[in-house]
Symmetry: C2
Subunit: 367 residues, 2 copies
């Protein structure tokens, strides 16, 4: 019944759009190519021909399954480009080329798809990357979250866009990126050394709390917005001035705790964070306390953790703070000479506790 | 109810496996790294560091949503590597590096995941590529196909692997590939010229009919198996001997018809295929007639269409036929001097009809 109802609709994605035939071509030409226009993508060959003068490259892939797809501060399209570009940046690589693969549930509104692709284009332009190759698949309608009734009414309803609707058809994006590594830079999570300082480029937990607030309809604060943003233009001047940055990591899933624990473990060092130095917006802190969450574990999508020698701290902070994405950069801890692999938090109360990697996650489908 | 039932199970993938914490690391270390082992992947940085001496590269991406994930002749893992490697090969590029991104529905059996990753590893080794970077996401259980009851019983049941089970948790793979383009080769779907010959490297429709037979439980023939296989080792010697191959395309979704129509349209030429030259296995032809399908429209996953000058035909066929994957290679048509963009089929009955790109698709989720 749902299928016969949906089959004739022109405003939603249909299974036939994923068949590789005329309807696939029409969808790509009308919804995707215009927004992402570039000469390589336009050829629509099975593989894109790209030229990179450098031989030392970085490659990274991420799928985005975030729910809801639209949220304060961004959407799944903007997130998918920023996330992948930021993973390249964290490796000291200038983002160059991206692929974009869509898996769309039938019934997904074409207007929403256009909006997402628009965000992909905007994020790509502001990150200096080209989307050079892509793929579109359509899968049968599932009934995630809502039961059949919720799915049917959502399908038939055509509610206004922009807010989260349980039981709606979903979309997954994959972006895979290629970047050119800066010569003379060797950042790796294995490079932290005793005496190094830990820097964060801004406040913690904005993305995760914005998603949770939207998804659960908590209305905890109207000011919660995701920090999703591309980071290469923030990071590049730092690497140009201080090629000897030891580690970089963007604290996404698992938050700052997961990123810092990963550095401590991979480098075999002990890290001590200072709770009073950790930057958190009051509205994030407030929402976290209500929900019993630790901002250290909440995801970010526009922040970086940097580890460098203490002698470089002043210049690194100066460069970071000169960029709009890094104004609130600050040192949050040190690598100390103690048994390796552990992260300690000096609490505001004057105590000390161990910071752990979360086992599972507080909030599924955060990115 | 389903969740509390599943939460403690050790034999299925749980939402927490996608959280980016300890359980994600454990899943990756225990199920994935061993099969795909290589020094780059093992570093588990956010982006992989790769070196490519060549500067002219090819990049391609594909998501795989095939249902069922296991089928005669292969599975989604083998398909995901072959499909991406073949898209690079069709651009005259030697496959080098692949990314692998998994989107898994909670409740998916870990044994099935192991089997799929095993196939990814096998296909990567036989194609000469390394999987250098990856991503794992877990999404909530949907109730695709079956209603809630089917989903629940499938979740609780733990039926024997290897056959298709409606309403089971699913998995999607994305593979993105980087290859190095052979110097002096310029294949493109825009390069076909009047007088050129059209070659296919084997029989048509094996993949699509194998999937349909399995999925619908048709039991049309026990001999139907997918042709999924990597093609670079077949294609490279041809390009080495005849760099002037004009076009290559693997006839996947939409079959040979879609591939040849695409070449005709993109090159602005007219192509005439000869029905009596088209190689089709008797069991595929038989199943197609029963279902009213045209083998020209049925997907392949281990075949290529090549277009070259007539003077090169003999040597190209000789090289193709010397390879196990190309034994049944043959010429199936010609580019003729006639109004452009059209594909004609000379029928066995002596008539002529227009071959069209399918509008939607006969069979969803074929790859």
């Amino acid at each position: 019944m749902m299928m016969s109802d949906g089959a004739g609709r022109k405003d939603v994605v249909l299974l036939a759009h994923g068949g590789g035939g005329l309807m696939t071509r029409k969808l790509i030409e009308e919804v995707i190519l215009g927004e992402l226009e570039n000469p390589i993508l336009k050829r629509m060959d099975d593989a894109a021909c790209i030229s990179i003068a450098e031989t030392e490259l970085a490659m990274t892939t991420d799928s985005y399954v975030i729910d809801p797809v639209f949220f304060p501060g961004g959407d799944i399209g903007y997130l998918a480009v920023c996330g992948t570009v930021n993973d390249l940046a964290m490796q000291g690589a200038e983002p160059r080329f991206l692929s974009l693969a869509l898996i769309i549930e039938e019934g997904f509104r074409i207007d929403d798809l256009k909006r997402i692709i628009g965000s992909v284009g905007k994020a790509a332009r502001s990150s200096g990357v080209s989307i050079v190759t892509g793929d579109t698949k359509v899968i049968e309608r599932s009934r995630r979250y809502g039961g059949p009734d919720a799915a049917l009414s959502a399908m038939a309803g055509g509610q206004a866009g922009g807010e989260w609707r349980a039981g709606e058809p979903g979309i997954f994006l994959n972006t895979t990126g290629i970047g050119a590594r800066l010569a003379g830079v060797d950042v790796s999570v294995t490079n932290a050394k005793p005496g190094d300082v830990i820097i964060i480029t801004g406040t913690m937990g904005d993305h995760g709390m914005a998603i949770m607030n939207t998804r659960e309809g908590l209305k905890l604060s109207s000011d919660l917005a995701s920090d999703v943003q591309p980071l290469w233009s923030l990071i590049k001047p730092v690497l140009d001035a201080v090629p000897d940055i030891h580690c970089m990591r963007d604290p996404t899933r698992g938050g700052v705790a997961a990123a810092v624990c990963d550095i401590a473990r991979s480098s075999g060092v002990c890290i001590r964070l200072s709770e009073k130095s950790l930057p958190v917006k009051p509205e994030v802190l407030g929402s976290c306390s209500i929900l019993g969450l630790d901002p250290l574990n909440v995801a970010n999508e526009g922040k970086a953790i940097l580890v460098c020698a203490e002698k470089d701290l002043v210049v690194v902070l100066e460069i970071l703070r000169a960029h709009p994405a890094g104004r609130e950069s600050c040192a949050i801890g040190k690598v100390i000479d103690a048994p390796g692999g552990m992260v300690l938090l000096e609490t505001t109360a004057g105590g000390e506790r161990i910071v752990d990697v979360p086992t599972g996650e507080d909030l599924p489908r955060i990115c």
